[in-house]
Amino acid sequence: MSIQKILLKFEPKPENLLGVLKEIQKENGYIGKKECEGAAGYFSLPLARVYSTASFFDQMKTKKESKKIIKICSGGPCLGEKSMEVARQIEMLLKIELENDARAKYKLELMSCAGLCDRGPIVMIDNQIFEKVKPETVDDILANYL
């Protein structure tokens, strides 16, 4: 869907801006300069205002992400369920290092609590959530979803 089509689904009121940006993120994968300009024109807002919102939130990116991002929850309850062992296993399997950008294809990051503490440890690949991930089961997930 083009940006124009997404924009026209919403009324140009400021409370719809976040919804529009989320939708663009979903369709386009990121919110670049072109997308920001489109939204700024439609909402009659300064470009800087739109960009400041787009660059603030975790679920939106202002640059194209070429790497697959794997996130793992670092919250206390997930730690108790051995989320760090799962992280070590992912590091080993993909030969990457936690929070290190060096590898071209994958990136392993820590994420903040997703409120699923009763189903931890939580692993997220491209916004898809995996619950109760064990070091023994993580290679299955990586094989199927990467």
């Binding site: 976040l18 919250g75 730690l79």
Partner: protein, 449 residues
Amino acid sequence: MNILTRSWDKINPLDIGSYIRQRGYEALQKAIREMVPADVIKEIKISGLRGRGGAGFSTGEKWEMAAGQNSRSDLERARGATSNGKYFICNLDESEPGTYKDRTIAEKNPHQIIEGLLIGAYAIGAKKAYIYINGNYKKQAEILRIAVGQAREKEFLGRGILGSAIDIEVEIFEGAGAYICGEETALINSIEGKRGEPRLKPPFPPVSGLFGRPTIVNNAETLANIPYILRQGAKKYSQIGSSVSPGTKLFILSGAVKNKGAHEAPLGITPQELIFNSLYGGGLETGKEFWFAQIGGASGRLVPAGKLDQPLTYGNCEYPLGSGSVLVVDKNADLKDLLLSWAGFFHRESCGKCVPCREGTYRLWEIAKRLKNNDLPLTNCNNASERDININKNHKEGQLVRGEREKDRENIEDILWTLSRTTFCPLGKFASVAWNDAIKMFGKKIFDK
């Protein structure tokens, strides 16, 4: 005593009929048909209900502040307030690590929240209400959307509620993943399409909030208590729990405890009872030994074994209740992992608006990484090789390594002092709480290595 969880197992969250059969929406009908808004506010004030998000402000007093605000002033017009109305927002942006009480309510009984929201909107005279839900709670947002649709069909919301002249529109607003948006002014900014950064208070939202208009932001669990209070009477509610903060609370138990999950208990309960009573936590998992508990998520204080008998209330107590989550840590846990987890969380979630928090949480996270990896801090040497030589020398002499560590220790004290006293909003203070306790209680364990 069950108020929130009373009929959870009898209710199908996707069917409004099952909620109505459990006396659902009776309180809303009573409010609209038999009470004027001032009566509703009075009733909530008498009940002594306090906000369940963590701060524990009196809900009735908050509503009264907003209800007293009249139509748009010239000053507001000059500031760009475009409407004449007031707003009521349900805060379901739950992102405190270890907390999922609001998610559970939304999953099990969404109408409970919606009914409370409608009563609140009626009481302050708001025509528009929002449910601001955490961007990660996609399924729960869908449940709420269905629930709002069913309530509209039954004329509980929308235009002309229950045949009266009252209009209240409810909209589900999904966040985009930011812990700080749980703070009410940051939440308001994010609905307005701005960065989710907190605003200077005062003016408080009940005076000037969303689009410059009087706005109430209440936690979802607070609102879930409202229908019960109106149905059963404020007197009855005020006798439950402790006298300073009546009612019950959803506690989330996690960590090394046997029965993990959401448990409803009267306020004033002690952590001892929560963790060890078979009604709630049921003690520790077999083979694990209690070390300490953290009350209120990553921003909560640490409670050692000797202090478990302090009651948990929203009054003046040593261990603030916060969001009501209890993380039980056993003696096998790695404290440095936890320190890194807390520091990393606040470093990621600091919004960057004020320097003490942005830099403080960043430096604390750096030190936490060093502690975890047993690295030494960088010295003041100008060139790297000189530094390496120094470090090598220090390693040999052992004594000096401790001196290097001491630098980190001093810096931590500085950072924690700054975080707890000088940041713009409470996030910085939250970041320092658990660290402060950990350094006080286990400083030796952390640094002597």
